[in-house]
Amino acid sequence: MEFAELIKTPRVDGVVLHRPFLPTVEGTLCLTGHHLILSSRQDNTEELWLLHSNIDAIEKRFIGSLGTIIVKCKDLRIIQLDIPGMEECLNIASSIEALSTLDSVSLMYPFFYRPMFEVIEDGWHLFSPEEAFKDLESMTDEWRLSEVNKDFTVCPSYPSLVTVPKDIDDDTLCKAAAFRHGGRFPVLSYYHKKNGMVMMRAGQPLTGTNGRRCKEDEKLINATLRAGKRGYIIDTRTIAVAQQAKARGGGFEQEANYPQWRRIHKAIERSNILQESLIKLVEACNDQSNSMDRWLSKLEASNWQSHVKEILTTACLAAQCIDRSGASVLVHGTEGTDSTLQVTSLAQIILEPACRTIRGFQALVEREWLQAGHPFQQRCAQSAYSNGKPRSEAPVFLLFLDCVWQILRQFPCSFQFNEHFLITLFEHAYASQFGTFLGNSAAESRVKLKLSRKTVSLWSWVNRPQELERFVNPLYEPNSLVIWPSVAPQSLLLWEGVFLRWNRSTKFLDEAYEEMVHIIEYNKELQNKVNSLRRQLAQLETEDSPLQTP
């Protein structure tokens, strides 16, 4: 298929662009296969380059022959285009609609994008399971890297290499996989160096209504316990939801069959509820006519902050089991690809200082989200402005980022990256020129789509020194401790950087931030100067002077 077929009117002159907090621009609107471009053809005015895949929804309005298209983006921005001429406007609108909802992944921009920069360090090869395993090997020899999934047949959503207990053979894994939702048998998610406790993740056990059991599954997870130790199974669903799952062949671990494990149920909501929550929250944030009371009641009705609190609380619980109670943990929900990953990845942020560095965070996203099979393409197909019935869209990753931001706010000196980095990840998860978030699993992205050969990795771009600079938190001081965030509602804030980003001017806040950066940099400069002067003085002192001794 040619893009040209979809573009009915490639360009229109005299289009006026309205953007929040920016002056209006008049210029020529051009549609290409992947972009909507508005250029004023003047040197000093900014042009608009919008990826079609960033467009969440559009609305058309007409007043006389002047048409208006309201473009609602996945990054939550809303822009308005005034297009003279009804026909042009209709053509543009239908073209945008067609181009922004292309079904075929291989037509997506990342397959066409050629980087304007030299790839120094290829992000596709930065974080492999082998690398992660090397680190693990240096701490313990109780685990092995299994190739049981090398053809992605045992578990289509797992990577080809997974870390499992040393004493468990591949046969046992296959049998356990048959007993877990989506074949997601328990695998290692995190090893806590301090006390050797581990966090595992899996899909729900397929106990069904008649309480099926699987000896191999029991053997597998018991193999992760030290002698005489107990562990915790954190089921991210409420007991009621977990019970209901039995009717559909799912279920939860029966105490009788897992006597060394205690099960705890939490209440992280399923994806369609999260999507609804996002839609309501964004609606509330975009309504400029809210009174104080209406704003608070809409914020409450959206339930977004409740989800943040629930996810953070569950992650803290997992971290607490591991660090404070010295117990190993198995986390699962239903599929084990959503709430499970939120919990395991956040727990690592809390426990593991390395995850709070820029590289470490990339590795975490790579390990716990991309390779762990979070279905990004399905979840991020639409954002807050989708008006159709959600299929499988859900802001699962955005909620994770929000939780990270909450911890970052509470420990502003313990993260190497800043808020901007998190916002960038949010944007790229929904629409990007890079291939990193394409596809739904390692099997799909690595093998079927050949992403690593055909597209550029987001990390290749992010890790360039020029870009990296923007993501560095100037306050960062490595902090080797476990960081326990407060989950009191008074401590949780609305992530304004995302949700109010286009609704307020941040000029004064940005300037204040600049000033803070300046203070920090000036201090560093002075430290260096003092140190070099001290060295100079020491030098002078040792220099032999001919007349040193009177």
Partner: protein, 611 residues
């Protein structure tokens, strides 16, 4: 005092939100309750409650006016009862003489004390605004508090307002609070005036009062219209009419534009705060209950209403160049809030530490905000208590959040001032009016808070304050979108450590800035020493050293000492276990180790060198 039970051992302090507890000895002194490292001033205690006996002892719940809630468990009931009844006796002073300010002695001599009181000079403040001028003059009509006993002695009125007009107008206004100048916007020659409600009832008029407003109108050549802002909801103003009070009838006053603003009264505000505190004091609070509670309390709605009113005032003055007359019922609560907040938006001076003190001294203290009643300083009518001034401080905080570079002070300054409106440790906020303060001879018998705060102003500086912000943004134009109004956690949970970020950007930035200052002088000194070394290379090294009491270790060969970056050591308060209680309290302390390579004054060294 001898009947006071003063020491109880093995008392347990329970944390409000977690299951943590501390055990220690509880002491009662004449002024403080002391437990482990925390002191509670008796004046801060709003209520003491004995809860029913538990297995571990007798619980005692103390609620403080600075939003601290302390939950003790005393092992023996008898001891608990003793403490309880002692506290009851101590915390309800009936006369001013019992207040802490009259026994507090910061070891200053009389001259220092007087200087402290002279720091703020309201006459000079009006001069700074450009008053007296050709249109506004100082009147001595209230020299002896004869016309209005809740106003200060010195008042500024339009030059065309004669004494009979003033006196006539004052008789037509509640409590005699006639229209007077509180802020003069020099650029447009527009005035902000304040007064109380007119005694208009359903139809009463007063020609002098009408003349008074006319005089205000005439004093402004730019704009003849005078906005009259009645800061009450219209319904309240109407109800007042039945009591022979009310609001201005536009038909009787020429050139006025009358406007209701809709800020609720002291009773609504009191119960609003109470509701808010109940909600946020709940253990294991859910997000839903929190947000519903926040909404139902109405607190942020009230805060927004005050800011909205101040913005209205500011626009009328700065954009239209019109004079504005602000009143409510008595003109000492809502009027004070709106006038002071408006002035803060219009005039960058009030956003400095000193200017903010002046503003409070002018609009709140001198114009008779009833601090004694509102803050419950003496055992008085509980219906008079209301967090009006707290709201003002919160409004300022909300503005600092929107304009982080506009204010010289940080929120710790606001919180510290709030601490002292209740502490009764300094004389400034005692009593209800200037006249009463004079009678109490506060300037002779107590100390000024402003002197104290200025002496430790380092603690309250906003590290990102930019003086040039005032030049580019003399008038602040805040956004009033509801999301800009946030719950002030650092105020209402200031004693609940577990609620706060475990690392503070503010504290860190302040520390770095302080550290940079020290480093700057270290650099200068090192450069000078190096220069001298090079110049006097002929002299022996040890001789040079002997001229400067340079710590030898810092210049010892091969031991060039690297300064470690600030924050790598002290800031490890991460697990919430040792977060400092007040944040600002430890800035200095945690710095000690860094300031070590102090090098003795070089000027001195140079002097010796040359002679």
């Amino acid at each position: 005092i001898e009947a006071i039970r003063n020491t109880v051992e093995q008392v347990k302090l329970l944390d409000r939100f977690s299951n943590k507890s501390t055990t220690g000895t509880l002491h009662l002194t004449a002024t403080h309750l002391i437990f482990v490292e925390s002191n509670i001033l008796h004046h801060h205690i709003a209520s003491v409650e004995k809860l029913s006996l538990t297995t571990s002892g007798c619980p005692l719940l103390i609620q403080c006016r600075n939003f601290r809630v302390v939950h003790f468990v005393v092992p023996r009931e008898r001891d608990c009862h003793d403490v309880y009844s002692s506290l009851l006796r101590l915390l309800r002073p009936v006369s001013y003489d019992e207040l802490y300010a009259f026994s507090y002695n910061p070891k200053q001599n009389e001259q220092q004390r007087d200087e402290g009181w002279q720091l703020i000079d309201l006459g000079a403040e009006f001069e700074r605004m450009g008053v007296p001028c050709d249109q506004w003059q100082l009147t001595d009509v209230n020299r002896d508090y004869k016309v209005c006993e809740t106003y200060p002695r010195d008042l500024y009125v339009p030059i065309t307002a004669s004494k009979p007009i003033i006196v006539g107008s004052s008789k037509f206004r509640s409590k005699g609070r006639f229209p007077v100048l509180t802020y003069f916007y020099q650029e447009r020659k527009a005035a902000v005036c304040r007064c109380s409600q007119p005694l208009s009832g359903f139809s009463a008029r007063c020609l002098e009062d009408e003349h008074m407003l006319q005089a205000i109108s005439k004093a402004n050549h730019n704009n003849r219209y005078v906005y009259v802002m009645d800061t009450r909801p219209k319904l309240n103003a109407l109800a007042n009419r039945a009591a022979g009070k009310g609001y201005e009838n536009e038909d009787n006053y020429s050139n006025i534009r009358f406007q209701f603003v809709g800020i609720e009264n002291i009773h609504v505000m009191r119960s609003s705060l109470q509701k808010l505190l109940e909600v946020v004091g709940t253990r294991s609070l859910s997000v839903m209950d929190y947000l519903v509670g926040l909404e139902n309390s109405g607190w942020l709605r009230h805060i927004k209403a005050i800011v909205d009113a101040a913005i209205f005032l500011t626009k009328a003055v700065t954009v239209e160049g019109a004079s504005v007359l602000v009143h409510c019922s008595d003109g000492w609560d809502r009027t004070a809030q709106v006038c002071s907040l408006g002035a803060l938006l219009m005039d960058p001076y009030y956003r400095t530490i000193k200017g903010f003190m002046v503003l409070i001294e002018k609009d709140w203290i001198s114009f008779g905000h009833k601090f004694a009643d509102r803050c419950d300083q003496l055992d008085g009518d509980p219906k008079e208590v209301s967090p009006i001034f707290t709201q003002f401080l919160e409004c300022v905080w909300q503005l600092t959040e929107q304009f982080p570079q506009a204010f010289q002070f940080s929120e710790w300054f606001l919180i510290q001032i709030h601490e002292h409106i209740h502490s009764c440790q300094f004389g400034n906020f005692l009593g209800n009016s200037q006249r009463q303060r004079e009678e109490l001879q506060l300037k002779e018998r107590t100390y000024s808070l402003w002197d104290h705060l200025l002496s430790e102003q380092q603690l309250y500086l906003n590290p990102v304050y930019s003086p040039s912000f005032a030049e580019t943004h003399p008038v602040l134009e805040p956004s009033t979108q509801p999301w800009n109004f946030k719950f002030w956690r650092n105020m209402y949970h200031q004693f609940d450590r577990s609620m706060h970020p475990r690392q503070s950007i503010l504290k860190n930035t302040v520390m770095l800035k302080e550290n940079s200052k020290e480093l700057e002088s270290t650099v200068r000194e090192l450069q000078a020493v190096i220069y001298l070394c090079k110049t006097y290379l002929l002299l022996s090294w040890s001789y040079i050293l002997s001229l400067y009491t340079l710590p030898v270790h810092s210049v010892h060969p091969g031991k060039a000492q690297e300064d470690t970056p600030v924050g790598s050591g002290e800031e490890r308060t991460v697990e919430g276990s040792s977060a400092t209680e007040n944040g600002y309290g430890e800035i200095k302390g945690s710095f000690g180790s860094k300031s070590e390579p102090a090098i003795v004054s070089l000027e001195f060294g140079v002097a010796r060198m040359t002679c």
